[in-house]
């Protein structure tokens, strides 16, 4: 499929007419633009990467500047789940259930080496899932142990670009002819 360019500002054009203006746009683009600017993350952290995620939520880095306004403690109200930390085999069914409980559209960010591959230290342990994508599908991966807050912000912005350009799993699936 063809890669669309990412609209960086409001998608559409403004036609000046006497006494005001008319905006023309595509509804899909407006929906994507609105969704990408209001992504509510689920409060979900299973180990040390969670500390970095908290600092990104705090005043110094502050991801609400980018529309990740309110971290929700319930999956029913969350749009994006940031897997911040190691997923052990016992936790895997819980992660799956949380993901299933989130309302569509939903997005997943795998933060840190543990969420990507099982971790820098314990990837070969009997208790650890070797990558959260064994359990749920992931949209954006962030390498690092832990990734710096800037890296998480970058990943969240990458997710926004992905949504705006219609490249997430669900958007691609919807475009397929039935």
């Amino acid at each position: 499929m063809d890669i669309k360019t990412t609209p960086t500002t409001f998608p559409g054009t403004i036609h000046e007419v006497p006494g005001g203006g008319i905006v023309t746009s595509k509804l899909d683009d407006v929906i994507n633009w609105a969704r990408s600017n209001s992504l509510w993350p689920l409060t979900f952290a299973t180990s040390c990467c969670g500390i970095e995620m908290m600092s990104v939520a705090g005043a110094k880095y502050d991801f609400s500047r980018f529309g990740f306004e309110v971290a929700r403690a319930t999956p029913r109200q969350a749009d994006v789940i940031i897997i911040a930390g190691t997923i052990v085999n016992k936790m895997a069914p819980v992660l799956k259930r949380l993901y299933d409980q989130m309302a569509d559209p939903k997005y997943v960010v795998a933060m840190g080496a543990c969420a990507i591959s099982g971790g820098p230290f314990f990837y070969n342990t009997y208790s650890v899932v070797k990558g959260a994508d064994h359990v749920i599908p992931v949209d954006v991966y962030i390498p690092g142990c832990p990734p710096r807050p800037e890296a998480l912000l970058h990943a969240l912005m990458a997710l926004q670009e992905k949504i705006k350009s219609g490249q997430t799993r669900e958007q691609i699936r919807e475009q397929k002819p039935l």
Partner: protein
């Protein structure tokens, strides 16, 4: 406040249990007593009930595995008398292949999870425990991870091949 010395505690235990007390030593100021397996619960109960020793607090307990010993499996208990700041460690060993011990949950309810942990990681059973099942690992895990024969690297994964990782 009474002052309990290690000598006093040893004397009391020896008077009460005689040859059931196998050995005792001071490890870094910590009185450590090895007890025959069949009396370990009586010893702990005595330490708990005795008015002077008054070990009212179970600090911790865990399984032991020394594969080179004839009695390779064992349990370790740490008790604390907070009033007199007296602490004691009790060890017991067994040569059984499937070790089983008496539960302490009737003395301290807090022993419940620690005994489940010992079951989870060493496969020790505890007679009289209200809910003897795994606590930290997934229920379907096979084997006892903290026994020394359990492989250090994940025995269940197939995707990492030694050929490719140069090990």
């Amino acid at each position: 406040m009474s002052n309990i010395t290690a000598e006093l505690a040893i004397e009391k235990l020896n008077n009460q249990f005689g040859d059931q007390i196998i050995s005792s030593e001071m490890l870094y100021d910590f009185l450590t007593v090895t007890v025959a397996r069949k009396s370990v619960k009586d010893v702990i109960k005595f330490l708990h009930d005795d008015a002077e020793l008054n070990c009212h607090f179970l600090t911790t307990m865990c399984g032991l595995h020394y594969p080179d010993q004839a009695e390779q499996f064992g349990m370790m208990y740490q008790l604390h008398n907070m009033v007199a700041n007296f602490r004691i460690r009790i060890k017991t060993f067994t040569s059984d292949a499937e070790p089983a011990f008496e539960t302490l949950t009737d003395i301290w309810p807090s022993a419940n999870w620690m005994e489940r942990e010992a079951y989870d990681f060493f496969g020790f059973r505890f007679h009289g425990h209200p809910k003897m099942k795994r606590i930290l690992n997934m229920d379907s895990l096979e084997g006892w991870p903290l026994r020394k024969e359990f492989p250090l690297e994940d025995p269940f994964r197939a995707d990492k091949d030694d050929k490719m990782f140069g090990r």
